[in-house]
């Protein structure tokens, strides 16, 4: 199999239609009023803003902006507001700084210098806000995880990884960017460098150590059972680079799994107790 950028081409019209239909059907059968999304100003959440608006109408979608003191970016807020206006979304800003400070203060072992633990707490705090709104307004939380970061485990477990639905989780980042453009998002947003905004100046590609257009091809090869040597050969990479990506994918499986417990009885939740989502 040839591994070049053409393999990541998708039918954008069909993809948008299917993602939209998925969202609409879920909301309709969930018995809820609409959707709440975390609106960071980045390409993923702005794409979700466009899709959810198409699916159920922007007036039923709330875009929640959740900045905090260390990573607050007026540019991101401006971008989020621009897209929200474009797709008629309602928006609200909640500064999560006071909540975070309370957490920092109330945890006896809290370590300011451990930016990963602290950053994850920010993502989980955003999740608490999103679910509060969802709960209060009888809506669902729509996640904006894409396939690249999900395969890499590049998200916070029970943080930005927590949602009721994930309409773009089967699209690699480079595909999300094309979809964003197709949906009419400004180019500067569709091409904007990604950041989880867990600490200042954090950039996904820098942290992952690889450009998304290469990463996505490696992941595509892994998805299609290609071995590391073949992927590396086709992409002119060191085999070790591919092996590192493969290891990250395998190691992070625990983040992608649902409820995991030991098998102790007849039908086990999360294992072989398999029922459909929507009741009848």
């Amino acid at each position: 199999m040839k591994l070049d950028s053409s393999v990541l081409e998708i039918d954008l019209v069909e993809t948008a239609k299917r993602a939209t239909r998925f969202i609409k059907e879920y909301v309709e059968t969930s018995g809820t009023e609409g959707i709440v999304i975390g609106l960071s100003g980045g390409v993923d959440s702005n794409t979700i803003a466009a899709l959810t608006s198409r699916a159920i109408g922007g007036d039923r979608v709330l875009g929640l902006m959740l900045p905090e003191e260390e990573t607050r970016s007026e540019k991101d807020i401006e971008d989020a507001v621009t897209v929200a206006k474009q797709f008629d979304l309602k928006t609200q800003i909640c500064d999560i700084t006071p909540a975070l400070r309370s957490f920092y203060k109330s945890i006896p072992i809290f370590d300011q210098s451990d930016k990963l633990c602290k950053g994850n707490m920010k993502a989980r705090t955003r999740m608490i806000y999103l679910y509060y709104y969802a709960n209060k307004m009888n809506t669902i939380v729509c996640g904006s995880s894409d396939k690249s970061e999900t395969m890499m485990g590049y998200f916070t477990k029970w943080g930005d990884g927590a949602a009721d639905i994930y309409p773009i989780i089967d699209l690699y980042k480079t595909q999300v960017r094309r979809l964003a453009e197709h949906l009419g998002l400004p180019k500067e947003i569709s091409e904007k460098p990604s950041t989880p905004a867990l600490w200042p100046k954090q950039l996904a590609e820098t942290e992952l150590g690889i450009r998304y257009n290469t990463l996505d091809l490696i992941l595509y090869g892994i998805e299609r059972f290609m071995d590391s040597e073949e992927i590396a050969g086709q992409l002119n990479l060191e085999k070790a680079t591919v092996e590192t990506i493969r290891a990250k994918w395998l190691y992070s499986e625990h983040k992608r799994r649902g409820l995991l417990g030991p098998k102790l009885s007849y039908r086990t939740i999360g294992a072989d107790f398999r029922i459909p989502r929507d009741p009848y």
Binding site: F22, E25, R274, P276, R277, D278, Y280
Partner: protein, 277 residues
């Protein structure tokens, strides 16, 4: 076989797990079919219960004959129609053995049933987890002519469709619950099976969304040379009223005589080689 057979491709969406509601929808379609003087109404795979029922198949499955099949028999009798539909069938001999079954009912009652022989258990499909494999290809003689039945993934197996054809089926009916990513395959394979067997092929797919699976609809009647005679909308429910004329089979068979040119000795080898892979 009658000279002109009027079909309804009943591309419905199902309320998953709600047999009462689905049977009600089927009855509505049959009444409409009666108004249009139709002969045969074809519903999708597992349409009585919906497709994505997971463990609840154990609670939803019924014997055939059984309450749901009898209800459809009643509709068929009242409306003087032939009906093909799919449902999870509970074995009459055990309590937990299920089949993914297509039933053919005529105005006089149950004509026959086919238990799906190829159960997809890959990708998003988990049919072998719930269903036992069928063991019999099925072609039934009816007042409309000989009708062969297959279900969805069966269409990927030309040997089964060939067998149905050799059993005399002039109309091959494939009921389906195919999600969107498979659309291109089915569009090619349904036409191929019709052409290579010089038979009519009616393909009826579900529409709607269940558990994230988006059924793409696109039901169709294909003629014996591969012409798409009628086609339903993509993605949404649709009823397509169409006709076939069995007299068109002879010129098709003469033009591409695949049945005349069959080489039976290949089938022995096919069996031997397929046991070795």
């Amino acid at each position: 076989m009658k000279n002109r057979i009027k079909l309804v491709l009943a591309q419905i969406s199902c309320k998953r797990g709600d047999k009462q509601r689905n049977l009600q929808r089927m009855e509505e379609v049959l009444l409409e079919a009666k108004k249009q003087s139709s002969d045969l109404v074809i519903f999708p795979e597992l349409c009585v219960t919906g497709y994505a029922n997971r463990d609840q198949f154990y609670e939803l499955a019924e014997t055939i004959p059984g309450p749901s099949a009898e209800k459809i028999e009643e509709f068929a009798r009242q409306n003087d129609l032939h009906v093909i539909f799919g449902m999870p069938e509970l074995s009459g001999k055990t309590k937990g053995t299920l089949y993914n079954t297509a039933a053919l009912i005529g105005p006089e009652g149950l004509i026959g049933k086919y238990r799906k022989m190829h159960l997809p258990t890959h990708s998003v499909f988990e049919e072998k987890r719930y269903f036992r494999l069928g063991y019999q290809a099925a072609a039934f003689e009816t007042a409309l002519g000989t009708v062969g039945l297959c279900i969805c993934y069966d269409i990927f197996f030309p040997e089964l469709i060939r067998l149905i054809r050799l059993q005399g089926a002039q109309l091959i009916v494939c009921i389906s619950a195919s999600p969107a990513v498979r659309k291109e395959y089915f569009e090619i394979l349904t036409a191929a099976r019709a052409i290579e067997n010089t038979a009519y092929l009616a393909y009826v797919n579900l529409a709607g969304v269940e558990e994230g699976l988006q059924f793409w609809g696109g039901s169709r009647l294909i003629g014996p040379t591969g012409t798409v005679i009628a086609k339903a909308k993509y993605d949404e429910p649709d009823l397509v009223f169409c006709e076939l004329d069995p007299r068109d089979l002879r010129p098709a068979e003469a033009f591409i005589p695949t049945l005349r040119d069959l080489r039976p000795e290949l089938f022995d080898k096919l069996k031997l080689e397929s046991e070795k892979i």
